[in-house]
Symmetry: C2
Subunit: 431 residues, 2 copies
Amino acid sequence: MRSLCSSLGTAEAGSTVTLEGWVHRRRQLARVTFLVVRDRSGLAQVVLPAGAAVPAEETTVRVTGTATRNPQAPGGTEVTDATVLALTEDAATPPAELWRPDLDVSLPTLLDHAPVLWRHPAQRARWELAAASLRGFRATLDGLGFTEVTTPKIVGTATESGAKVFPVDWFGREAYLAQSPQFYKQQLVGVFERVYEVGPVFRAEPHDTVRHLAEYRSLDVELGFIEDHRDVLAVLRDVLAGMVDAVRAEEQAVSRTGASLPVVPDEVPVIHFRDALALVGAPADEPDLAPEHERAVSAWALAEHGSDLVAVEGQPLAKRPFYTHPWSRDGAGAPARATERSSNSFDLLFRGLELVTGGQRLHRVSDYERAIRARGEDPATYDAYLQAFRHGMPPHGGFAIGLERWVGRLVGAANVREVTLFPRDLNRLAP
Amino acid sequence: MRSLCSSLGTAEAGSTVTLEGWVHRRRQLARVTFLVVRDRSGLAQVVLPAGAAVPAEETTVRVTGTATRNPQAPGGTEVTDATVLALTEDAATPPAELWRPDLDVSLPTLLDHAPVLWRHPAQRARWELAAASLRGFRATLDGLGFTEVTTPKIVGTATESGAKVFPVDWFGREAYLAQSPQFYKQQLVGVFERVYEVGPVFRAEPHDTVRHLAEYRSLDVELGFIEDHRDVLAVLRDVLAGMVDAVRAEEQAVSRTGASLPVVPDEVPVIHFRDALALVGAPADEPDLAPEHERAVSAWALAEHGSDLVAVEGQPLAKRPFYTHPWSRDGAGAPARATERSSNSFDLLFRGLELVTGGQRLHRVSDYERAIRARGEDPATYDAYLQAFRHGMPPHGGFAIGLERWVGRLVGAANVREVTLFPRDLNRLAP
């Protein structure tokens, strides 16, 4: 019966225990040999005679011996009088010493040797925060009456937005990898009212930046019967709070990564796009916030509202996808706005970086037909998508969170590739 | 403040309530007009004067009126003195009457009109069982110390198995859609010991059968430090029990779909492949169980063990992928077996259909190199994959469950397409 390393402290002193794991470190001293075993739960120390043969680091082993209290050992208990059985041939030397507290390697080395270097406890902990985030995301939405859905990643037409697509040879026909589940999650609001999906999305944009991947995980949410985008933002707030709670519960991983968790306020501060432009001193006709503007808006939210999160709403309609709902809120107390140019959209900034895009969508089929024609396109091209709207859809909206960006911000990674298990980009298709 | 249809019964009689949903049915009688509203929770009846204008079926509406007890109404409460506000123009007539108890349409109609026909309560309930299954799958594995992972769906080489692959144009280079996360989940056992992933897999096999899709959802599990494939089967048993429990909790959906839930025995009955061949009267040198043999083995398990589930183990090694571990169990009490020809594999049959494939994998890098060379291939081709093995891997194994087949069996669907939200196959890329 195997004991986990983390539970060794609960074994009766003097009892026989069996550990299974990797040789994390071996130290041959003059009078004793130490073997540190690593398993999914943590580390344990095994004491062997001086000169004992010990398998190479990273070899998998089964260790049987006596649980012995020793305040110097990790967890206060070590294994003595041990026999060590290697489960394979000796492992090759890793590209970095995994037992050192910090994994100090270049990004290319990290990525080329991902299968091995993710074993480093501090690196592995970064993904444990990703897994916890997924758990918190789903638990929150399940509690709010959402239904998980899965939508096709191969689509017959490439019409959703400006993002470039990857062509697929589909039994001799040209198809495309889905850039997002947008059209499908909207159609499924017609079925379930409230849906979410965690899945891969594919963007063939030849960006080589620290924040873009060609394949990433999108946490997609869509809900019906809303008043406007502020209802969507309220759900986003709850989702982020649930994700942070789930991450916080992973105490060991939070500590190993040095992650700094945001306090999620009861209400996320919101600033209108135009007010944000004025705040950062940008011209009033700028169509976008530049990265330095996003950082300045985040700094403002932190100073004024004590919040790591801030939503910018009301982006110019012309800069949003065709299905975006125009601005519909009265500017009570706010500067008058030209409603025809603004939209019921928002971007959520997390410590200076755009993390989430969301908003209200159109819901009348006549509005869709007009918006599609205004792009110079034929509504017939969108026939499958528009079917849902012809047959009755509620006012609705949603958002998408990029998992890698979220985790990257939590742990302060300089590049999203550092928190992606096997990243895909312009240059990388392996490992 | 909106009330859900299902909670109308808890509203104080005489209080004002607001419902939001779809016009499920309208009935103009001589003395009264009935409007049935459908939302994500269920149905509610609204009583209007004879001749009242009511939006077309499937139009979304907001209804405000008085909660009035009426034992004849669904849930014992209806809405009277109501005003009905349509949220869009009148909806187009659906391709089938969604208010009828059964959705009696042909498969092509169902698939062509998926965005609308999934709204039918009995059809929607099928997906609700899929969503519950996913919940039960993850909750069980989270409880067993597994870590959720995400692996790339675009890969640079197409080497895993015989299944045909879809080529992708990746920034001008040829890449492929992943046929399974097999190689990645194994590498991640080296990191996390126990991993799972729910994701799309892509099979370019030009089958046009009732049980194959070109894109489907694979529920993948892999775990380290096992004795052999029977440890994998024990985890599979717990996972299926967790999925059935989660499905059972969806009482309304179970009842609407008429799903028949299997009793998951504490231990799934296991029969060796050769004994299965003998049992069904097939020649001893058959390399596979034919579909009628699978049905016969399932019938035997039900008769002998009262189980809807049965595992067939020890398939011929030559018929399994190159990473399969050879047979290593003593045949205590069982017929002697030629160990070199049998494998530590299993297939799980669920009511006559293969639902899960699993087994133990090789774990020594030298075994991989030998197995790859035996296929006439160069181990260098598998360099990224073999990296994990060179640097130390435990004995491990895993399995994959096809979500659509699972749900299809639960509800007795004749074709997996009936339980897939937007299926993709040889002929279908839309909606």
